[in-house]
Subunit: 370 residues, 2 copies
């Protein structure tokens, strides 16, 4: 089988981590006798530098011709980079919003789980994370405040800015169905998060999700207010399986969830439309401060490639293979700097058998395991 | 001096905790030779039961005649209480939103700090909270999505719901000034949280806050995206002093911040307008499941009363007195059930010298210390 993969290396550490993921994909291709052809797609700051805009129409067309897209990261230092002197719709992040909408990538899946080996990096108390946790944030990605009408005007000489939060029942239903479908393959629980005690959009959200829930009698369904969800994630992340929510709440909660794992450099994400097409990217940012130093953690991107194999290409075995390879490399004690045990923890068990390696080395080690 | 205090006991544990705070206020009145006159004000579920609406116009008028208001909590179990069968604008929480707007309580202050004595209850890892943390969330409370136009309609037969997020520069400026003023009395740092890479309202927010910051050269000012703020609160709460943000982000982040202290039953809050008037309430909810059992923690309400003494009545000594009394009762080992050390932690140090007491007992103990 042949698959067309678009590569958006992007900015900051993007090119480095995508490079490692490509090495891993090549190893998978060899082992499983698959053909992967890669096409580079410009997006973000590098696209601004080359074309003046963060995403050209040609780039979108090229993206549409792929079977899936693997992305590194986009954007730079918002205080110092000249990209952030541009109008908002010309900044690197605008490219990301544009591609999400253009490719109708409404379903954003962000897994957050605790790696046994990286438990010490978890900011939560040991008794809270005993037994681990494994949750999947399902964030709506093409609606709400992100894509509503907005404008800034003077009202009686007073500057006034407005954004709009709109959802219709179809947008809610399709993401809810995705969430329940995925819950069926996981631990059969969906927590839908909203602010139904205040927002009309949340009340519609809740009523549509409740309808969808009826078609999944096996799935335990509950709803939770967003403020409470922000608390429960810290208090007891184990209680969650699939967390379903709208765009802005999902942005906040998925980052909170990835932080409580303590290893954001390990977390992948997928943005899907209603075909098999998807855009896969690490959860972390472009980390301009460490770009080019060869120390970035490529594992999140490699695991994003694994998600791509699973969700877009239905290559479950190959996906599992990549995930196992990552697991074994961790078990053998290899770590990039971001997931090294803290030196100030004075129990020896921590640093024993743990070896710090760079971006390329850990990529090579993962390739070896495949 | 005489002060008129409105008491909104409300629902759930509200009447119990307000009762204890009143006892403490009476002790303060005696010691400092002050006159406190109390007026009960109906709001929330109890008002629905008595009048059909969560807040009557007469109740608002009565509230306006007070020097300050002390509130317990409002609302009930959203799944089982008949209040939640009513239209949204008739539910208990609508009363709270209405009074905030009617009294122009735009500045919501929510302190979140770690009690040395209650460190074990903190969900964060010990090395993260070493040395404690002490932050103040300053949430805008009368604008944004909470008070924007909203409606649900059918567009081509498809149910569509819209909420609007609007801020004008004056609304932003007055809360920003409050935040910087308070930072000057604290650790002289303000972190303004927004989503300026997406929202027009956030871009206006950021530009106005930046202007205000110029008038406070002594205050260290930074801005942070809301998704990052949700992460940083868990990763390193020590980095924050005053966190300034809009209504919805403030709702989410203040609850996250209160949860990371591990002792939400200890956290007070103040909602202020541009006079000395304020509404003071505990950060926690109405906890209908434990209402009437005599086990609720009244300390958050008692500390809210202390905030009232300080911010509305300028009685700094009396406020400090109440706070010290609470501190001493904790030091002596008295705890309500919500802040008892976990039994499953097998280090003896925890439970030694710690005595569980009820709502009234801890109230009495605090009164004794005054
Ligand atoms: C870069 C930004 C616009 C984006 C978002 O808010 O969606 C990012 O934070 C994310 O979560 O992918
Ligand atoms: C009850 C609800 C409307 C309220 C809010 O969201 O403001 C509460 O969560 C709070 O934070 O005071």
């Amino acid at each position: 089988m042949n698959y067309k993969i678009g590569l958006i290396a992007g900015d900051g550490i993007g090119p480095e981590v995508v490079g490692e993921a490509k090495k891993v994909l090549d190893a998978v291709a060899k082992k499983y006798k698959l053909g992967f052809s890669y096409t580079d797609i410009l997006m973000g700051g590098c696209s601004i530098d080359a074309t003046g805009v963060p995403l050209t129409d040609e780039a979108i067309e090229t993206a549409k011709q792929q079977d899936a897209i693997l992305m590194g990261s986009i954007g730079g230092n918002t205080s110092t980079s000249p990209w952030y002197k541009l109008a908002p719709e010309l900044r690197p992040e605008a490219g990301l919003l544009k591609i999400r909408k253009a490719l109708n990538l409404f379903a954003n899946l962000r897994p957050a789980y605790l790696y046994k080996e990286l438990k010490k990096a978890c900011p939560l108390r040991e008794d809270i994370i005993e037994g681990g946790f494994d949750l999947m944030i399902m964030r709506e990605l093409t609606g709400g405040l992100y894509f509503g009408k907005r404008h800034t005007e003077e009202v009686d000489g007073v500057k006034t800015a407005t954004d709009t939060l709109t959802y219709n029942e179809n947008e809610i239903r399709r993401i809810a169905i995705r969430a329940f479908d995925i819950a069926m393959k996981r631990n059969k629980k969906v927590t839908s998060v909203d602010k139904a005690n205040v927002l009309d959009s949340s009340r519609l959200w809740r009523s549509v999700v409740e309808e969808v829930a009826k078609d999944y009698p096996e799935v335990q369904y509950e709803h939770m207010l967003v403020d409470n969800a922000a608390m429960q994630l810290v208090k007891d992340p184990k209680q969650f399986d699939v967390v379903l929510t709208e765009n802005m709440f999902g942005d906040i909660l998925s980052d909170e969830a990835s932080m409580i794992t303590g290893s954001i450099g390990m977390l992948s994400s997928a943005s899907l439309n209603d075909t098999k097409f998807g855009l896969y990217e690490p959860s972390g940012g472009s980390a301009p401060d460490i770009a080019g130093k060869g120390i970035a953690n490529p594992i999140a991107t490699i695991l994003s490639a694994a998600m791509m194999l699973r969700y877009s290409f239905d290559l479950d075995d190959a996906a599992k293979d990549v995930e196992n390879a990552v697991q074994r490399v961790l078990e053998k004690g290899y770590r990039t700097i971001d997931i090294m045990p803290q030196k100030n923890e004075n129990d020896a068990e921590n640093t024993e058998n743990v070896k710090q390696v760079g971006t390329k080395e850990i990529g090579d080690l993962i390739v070896e395991e495949i």
